[in-house]
Amino acid sequence: MQAFKIMLIVSLSLIGFAATAQQGTSNRSLDIGYFGQFLMQPGIRIGKSIPLQSRQKFQELGIRQYDQTRTLFLQPSLGYFQQFRTHRTLIFSADVGYTFQKKKPKGHAFHSLALGLGYQLSADLVSYSISLSDGSITDKNWVNRQALLPMFSYTHGFPVQQQLSAYYRLVLGQAFEFSDRNTASLFAELGLRYYFTTKTRS
C-alpha cells in the first residue's frame, strides 16, 4: 500500500506540473473519465493533454466550412481501478499521439490515436480469514505486482458545450511483468474533456 501512495503522489504532482507549465498555450484540456479494465473493474482516470504542435486547415466547400486541426499532444495521466475487495491497480502513463479535431459551432469533436507507456502497480488479495460467526473478513494478505504497460489508444469525442466534450476511449495494452504472467488488457473509458481555452493555435 505504501507503494500505491507514493505513486499516487508522484503522478498527481506530474499532472499538476504539466498543467501549470503549459499555461498560456491553447487547447489545453483535462480528461476525467470512468475507467476500468474491460469496463467491469470500476475506476477513474485523470489526464492532462499538452499540445506540442498544431496544424490548422480551413476549407470552404459550398456553404459548408471546415476548420480542422491536427495536434501532436502529450498526455500524462493517472488511472486507478479496482475489483471489489480483491484487486487494485494504479497506472501512471504518458501518451503521445495525434488529435484530429473539427471545430463545430457547438464545440469540439475529435479523434485521437496515441501510443503510450505506462507503469502499472497492482495489488491482489490472495487470501484472508473469514469469521464463521458473522462472515466478517480479517487478516487480508495482499501481494503487489509491477509491470510495464505499452499501450495503444483510440479516443473519440463529441461536443457537449463550447468547452466541454464527452468522449470514449479504448486502450489496448500488454502488461510485461517479465515472467510467464504477462497479460494483455483492454481498458475502456467514458469521460468528459474540459478545454481551458477555446482558442486554437494556427
Binding site: M40, Y128, D134, G135
Partner: protein, 397 residues
C-alpha cells in the same frame, strides 16, 4: 457462478457478462431465510442421503430440536464432497472444491453467531492460463482478469462439514442403508432399504443425486406425477471425474482449459494454488462428454495412463518424467452417485419449480440439483437447498 458458466461466458459469449453473472450469483446468498426459519412442525423427519444437503438439513433440524434420522447408502458422509489426506502436504478435495460464491456463505450456512472460529480462504485468481486446442497450448492469460472464485486454504469442503456440522448430528447418522422404496400413501411415509429395513417418518427429505432418481433406483408409491417425470428428464447429470497427480517439479501453468460448452468441460489446474504448500500437485477436473473419454476406460490405471500421455504431449514428456503418484476419483463409477452434477436444459425456472414440488407435502427434495436461487451444481448451493426446502417443509404443523 459455476466454473462452467465462467468459462462459457468469458470465452464464448463475451467477457463482460461474467461480472454480472457473478454479482447475481453473489446476491442470492444474502437470502434472509438463513435467519427466518420458524418451524411449526414437530414430527419426525427422515433424511435420505448424507451429502452437503443432507448434512445441512440435519444440522438445521438439530438446531431447532426437531426429531430426525439420516440414512446414507455408502459407508461415509459427504456424498460428492470428499477429501484425501496424505497425498500431498495439504488436504485435497476429491469432489466439490471451489467456493463458487462469496465465502461469507459459510457463516450463513452455519448460522451460529456463538462460534469463535475463523477459516482461511484463498482468493482464487489464477494468473497463467492456457488453452489446449488443436494439439497446441496457447496462453490466454488475459482471462485471468475475470476469475472470481474462492477455495479453502487449509481445509476442504469435506473438512468444513466434518468439523462444523457433523459433530452435532453424528449420532443420528446410519450408513450402508440403500433405500429402494418410498411409500407415501399413508399418514406416515414408509422408507424401505434393500436389506428389508423399514423406516417411518412424518416427512421425508430425499437428497440423493438426481441420477439415482432418473435411474429409478428408488421406487415411489404412488409413482411420480407425469409432469415431474418430464421435468426430471430435462436435467442431465453427465459423467465426471477428478485426477490428482503429484510431481517432483512443476512444469504447468495455473490452469489449462480444454473444451468449453454448456454440457462439457475439462480443466487441468494447479491444485496447490494459494495453499500453504511447496509441492507440485496438478488436478484434472472433467464433466460431460469430455469426461466420458476417461470414465469409460474401465480402471483407474488406464485413466492415469491416458492422462499422462496427454500431458506428455503438452509438455514434451515432463509428466511421465516427474510423476511421483496419482489418484483418481471416478464419480461416474460411484454406485450411489453415478456422475458429476446437474446440467439444466430448457426452462430452468419451470423445471426447477416442478422438480422441487413436494409429493403430497410429505416427500421433499434437496441437493445440488434443487436450488431455486440458481446456484445449482455447487456445494454451497446444495447446502443452501436444505434451507429452501426446510423453510417450506417446517412451516406446516
Amino acid at each position: 457462478m459455476t466454473r462452467t458458466e465462467f468459462l462459457k461466458q468469458s470465452l464464448a459469449l463475451g467477457l463482460g457478462s461474467s461480472f454480472l453473472a457473478s454479482l447475481l450469483s453473489s446476491c442470492s446468498t444474502g437470502e434472509l431465510f438463513f435467519e427466518n426459519l420458524q418451524p411449526q412442525f414437530n414430527g419426525k423427519v427422515l433424511i435420505i442421503g448424507a451429502g452437503a444437503a443432507g448434512i445441512t438439513a440435519a444440522y438445521i433440524l438439530q438446531k431447532h430440536n426437531i426429531d430426525f434420522q439420516i440414512i446414507e447408502a455408502s459407508g461415509s458422509f459427504g456424498g460428492r464432497v470428499k477429501k484425501i489426506e496424505g497425498f500431498a502436504d495439504f488436504p485435497i478435495d476429491l469432489g466439490g472444491e471451489w467456493i463458487h460464491t462469496d465465502p461469507s456463505i459459510l457463516s450463513q450456512l452455519l448460522n451460529n453467531q456463538s462460534t469463535d472460529v475463523d477459516i482461511d480462504i484463498v482468493n482464487y485468481r489464477p494468473k497463467t492460463i492456457s488453452i489446449w486446442r488443436n494439439d497446441r497450448l496457447r496462453k490466454i492469460n488475459f482471462t485471468s482478469h475475470f476469475y472470481r472464485e474462492y477455495k479453502f486454504k487449509n481445509t476442504t469442503w469435506f473438512g468444513f462439514f466434518e468439523q462444523f456440522m457433523v459433530p452435532t448430528i453424528a449420532d443420528k447418522m446410519e450408513f450402508n442403508k440403500v433405500v429402494n422404496g418410498i411409500d407415501y400413501r399413508g399418514d406416515k411415509v414408509s422408507v424401505r432399504t434393500n436389506q428389508g429395513e423399514v423406516y417411518e417418518a412424518d416427512r421425508v427429505l430425499v437428497t440423493v443425486p438426481i441420477k439415482i432418481l432418473q435411474n429409478e433406483m428408488i421406487e415411489f408409491n404412488p409413482a411420480w406425477p407425469q409432469e415431474k417425470v418430464a421435468a426430471l428428464e430435462e436435467v442431465d447429470m453427465p459423467a465426471g471425474l477428478k485426477v490428482f497427480m503429484h510431481f517432483s517439479e512443476r512444469f504447468y501453468p495455473d490452469i489449462i482449459i480444454e473444451g468449453v460448452s454448456t454440457s462439457t468441460e475439462k480443466t487441468y489446474y494447479d491444485a496447490a494454488f494459494g495453499k500453504d504448500s511447496s509441492e507440485a500437485v496438478l488436478g484434472l477436473f472433467s464433466a460431460g462428454p469430455l469426461a466420458k473419454r476417461y470414465t469409460d476406460l474401465g480402471s483407474d490405471e488406464k485413466i492415469i495412463e491416458v492422462v499422462l500421455e496427454e500431458l506428455d504431449t503438452m509438455f514434451e514428456g515432463k509428466a511421465s518424467k516427474f510423476l511421483i503418484k496419482a489418484v483418481v476419483q471416478n464419480w461416474s463409477a460411484e454406485p450411489y452417485i453415478q456422475g458429476s452434477y446437474s446440467h439444466y436444459g430448457g426452462n430452468f425456472t419451470s423445471t426447477m419449480e416442478t422438480l422441487m414440488e413436494p409429493l403430497e407435502r410429505k416427500v421433499y427434495f434437496a441437493g445440488e440439483a434443487f436450488n431455486p436461487g440458481g446456484d445449482t451444481s455447487t456445494v454451497h448451493g446444495a447446502a443452501e437447498s436444505a434451507y429452501w426446502v426446510l423453510k417450506d417443509m417446517l412451516q406446516l404443523a
